[in-house]
């Protein structure tokens, strides 16, 4: 998401300085904006609230609220580097004590959710308040398959949505994110994602997660998985590569927030045949590329998987963890072109999705399976660390 107007060009806010909470809103239709503002007013005293929105007419439409213009961005579905830079600059200008960033479609969030996220960074010592969405069982699958397990295994954070689009930030957290984002802000960089959990973990800042209930997650304008998947995973892999000195040290995972067992899934079985077919087609054609990245043991696992029928299609969690780690290593070592590498991961991800759907259809709750996957990543972390340090060591 490239910034259209640099922050320095924004007209000075008419609001008096010293606002407690700066709420930075993404561009949204007027009816959604009205709903979000109503939730905000219901949650916070108006004198402490400063809203920044790209909507130019908002200040006239809601004269009771202190509203300042925010730079218009090409925000469509995710927070990007430019958003964090804008948030920090606006907070500095208006002397805000904390920031609440709300992404597109945030009108689906309730008042308690907004209150929890904001209060965490205003009243407590939390630096990063991150939401835990209540999503449909088969939503945000890239997050469940790769982003969450990797983030948990390497950065010792249980935050379920590392790519959350609503965040509560303390000022120092915003400053850190803005400085991390500065190197990506030139327009040539295009859409660049930041990973707030990784940044907070490296800085040693406090992270807190809050249940915020259901939320409509905006989808990318171009729903083509072949385009977005390499962009997202490549961004996370690059961030992990840059922070290798941090995550190689062993760290204790904080205890789980709640221990109530998730309810078993009542989902009806879906048609996973197209995904399995995609995997089999890739198995027939991409072996020469996978062979450069994966060890023989993983290739054998994939061979077994390709021979399994749809009902018995189950990718073991350990195999998936090993595959992702090997792709991460290949990304770091540039074994093959990075675009090719991430493209070759897509059919394997689809195989994981098919397996996940199969498992949840058999009665296991999606949350339990995702936790099992994340645990497999944690268990296999020594392999990643070992091969990261000695990539040429024998690997059967």
């Amino acid at each position: 998401m490239a910034t259209v107007n640099p922050i320095s060009d924004i007209t000075p806010a008419s609001a008096p300085p010293g606002a407690g909470l700066l709420v930075l809103l993404a561009a949204m239709p007027p009816e959604q904006l009205e709903s979000v503002l109503a939730h905000l007013v219901a949650s916070f005293p108006e004198e402490d609230l400063l809203v920044a929105t790209p909507d130019e007419n908002a200040a006239d439409s809601y004269p009771d609220l202190r509203i300042v213009p925010a730079p218009a961005t090409k925000s469509s579905w995710e927070l990007t580097a430019a958003d964090f830079v804008n948030a920090y600059h606006l907070a500095g200008k208006n002397e805000a004590r904390a920031i609440l960033m709300l992404g597109p479609e945030s009108s689906s969030l309730g008042s308690p959710a907004l209150r929890d996220l904001a209060n965490a960074v205003i009243t407590s010592s939390t630096d990063l308040a991150i939401p835990c969405y209540d999503l449909p069982p088969h939503a945000a699958l890239v997050n469940s398959a790769i982003l969450y397990p990797l983030s948990r295994a390497l950065f010792a954070s249980r935050a379920r949505f590392p790519m959350a689009i609503d965040l509560g930030l303390s000022l120092r957290m915003a400053e850190r994110l803005a400085s991390a984002a500065q190197r990506f802000t030139p327009p040539s960089q295009g859409e660049v994602f930041l990973w707030p959990i990784n940044e907070a973990a490296v800085a040693g800042y406090a992270i807190d997660e809050f249940d915020v209930g259901p939320r409509v997650l905006p989808q990318p304008e171009d729903p083509n998985l072949n385009t977005i998947f390499p962009m997202v995973t490549g961004s996370l892999f690059a961030d992990i590569d840059a922070k290798a000195a941090f995550w190689q040290r062993p760290r204790l995972l904080p205890p789980a927030r709640y221990s109530t067992p998730p309810a078993p899934s009542t989902e009806a079985a879906r048609d996973i045949a197209p995904m399995i077919e995609a995997f089999r087609l890739a198995y027939d054609n991409l072996q020469e590329i996978w062979r450069l990245v994966l060890p023989p043991k993983s290739l054998l696992g994939l061979k077994r998987l390709s021979l399994a029928n749809a009902a018995a299609f189950h990718m073991p969690e350990s195999l998936w963890a090993r595959i992702v780690f090997d792709f991460l290593l290949a990304y770091r070592l540039r074994t093959i072109n990075r675009g090719h590498l991430l493209g070759a991961l897509i059919p394997l991800y689809l195989a994981w999705v098919a397996s996940h759907i199969n498992i949840t259809a058999s009665g296991t709750s999606p949350a339990r399976h995702i936790e099992a996957v994340a645990a497999a990543f944690e268990a296999d972390k020594p392999y990643l660390v070992s091969r990261w340090r000695w990539p040429d060591r024998f690997n059967p």
Binding site: P29, E31, Q32, W77, E105, S107, S108, D134, L135, P136, P137, H138, A139, A140, L141, V142, N143, A180, R183, F184, P214, V216, L217, Q219, P220, L225, N226, I228, F229, V232, A238, D239, D241, A242, A268, R270, P274, E277, A278, L281, A282, D284, N285, L286, I289, R332, L333, R334, I336, N337, G339, H340, G343, A344, I346, P347, V353, I357, P391
Partner: protein, 270 residues
């Protein structure tokens, strides 16, 4: 008629005989003289360009040694100055491979720049010596330069062919095209044929035959691919059009802010 016969008889009159060995000795003499002259010319050329060859190797060796020394100095200096850490702090060191940190890259660049400089100096000295000394038709050296150019073309063409083949293979597999491998191989051979034609043309081998053969091969491959992709992609195109139509209908039918419930059946990757 009589005149003609008279002339013929005159021509067939026996010449005075000369000893056979004398004729043979003349041939050997000429051959020996030609060989001697050739040997003399080649040896003269070698002796004349020997300083140039020596200058070439000396320049390369000296510049390599200088490059080695500079590289070691740079590596130590930059490591002592913590150059990598400063760069990572300033710009975000997300793209450096572990075996190619900025310090190592700079040191290597310096080394190879020195080697390249040595090669240029050496080649220049050799060229000067050759140009002043040669009395032979100097067709070998320029052709060697062409051969080097052809080898570079071949390497570049092979690399590009492999890159494109992989790109197309992965893209086609992800688009679930059953003929992904065929498409990838087709493009690979297309580039390889183009490369081969360029190499032969660069070497001036084959002349029009190469151009003709290339045209036929290239056209054949393109036609085959077009037919295969055109016939094989009907399903893909119709699926794409259908899904596009369905998406448009859904967008127009559904309210823009319809909340997603827990019973939503769709699979969402993001």
């Amino acid at each position: 008629m009589q005149t003609v016969l008279a002339i013929m008889l005159q021509q067939t009159q026996p010449q005075p005989l000369q000893p056979f060995y004398a004729n043979n000795a003349t041939i050997w003499g000429h051959m020996s003289e030609a060989l001697h002259q050739s040997l003399y010319r080649v040896l003269s050329l070698l002796i004349a360009i020997l300083p140039g060859i020596l200058a070439f190797f000396t320049a390369v060796a000296v510049c390599t040694l200088i490059g080695l020394a500079l590289s070691v100095l740079l590596r130590r200096g930059l490591t002592a100055a913590k150059f990598d850490e400063h760069l990572a702090h300033g710009r975000g060191n997300v793209d450096w491979a572990p075996s190619a940190s900025p310090t190592v890259l700079i040191a290597r660049t310096c080394f190879w720049a020195c080697v390249l400089l040595g090669l240029i100096i050496g080649a220049s000295a050799f060229d000067a010596a050759y140009a002043t000394a040669t009395t032979l038709p100097n067709s070998l050296l320029p052709y060697l330069a062409r051969v080097v150019g052809a080898v570079l073309l071949l390497i570049a063409g092979t690399l590009i062919a492999r890159f494109l083949a992989r790109s197309i293979l992965i893209g086609a597999v992800n688009m679930q095209l059953q003929y992904a491998r065929f498409l990838s191989l087709g493009v690979k051979w297309l580039v390889l044929v183009l490369t081969a034609a360029m190499v032969l043309d660069h070497l001036q081998i084959g002349g029009d035959v190469v151009v003709l053969a290339f045209g036929i091969l290239f056209g054949g491959i393109v036609l085959t691919l077009a037919l295969a992709v055109g016939l094989g992609s009907r399903d893909l195109v119709s699926r794409s059009l259908e899904s596009h139509g369905e998406r448009s209908t859904e967008r127009s039918a559904a309210p823009p802010n319809a909340p997603t419930t827990g019973a939503d059946d769709s699979i969402r990757h993001f």
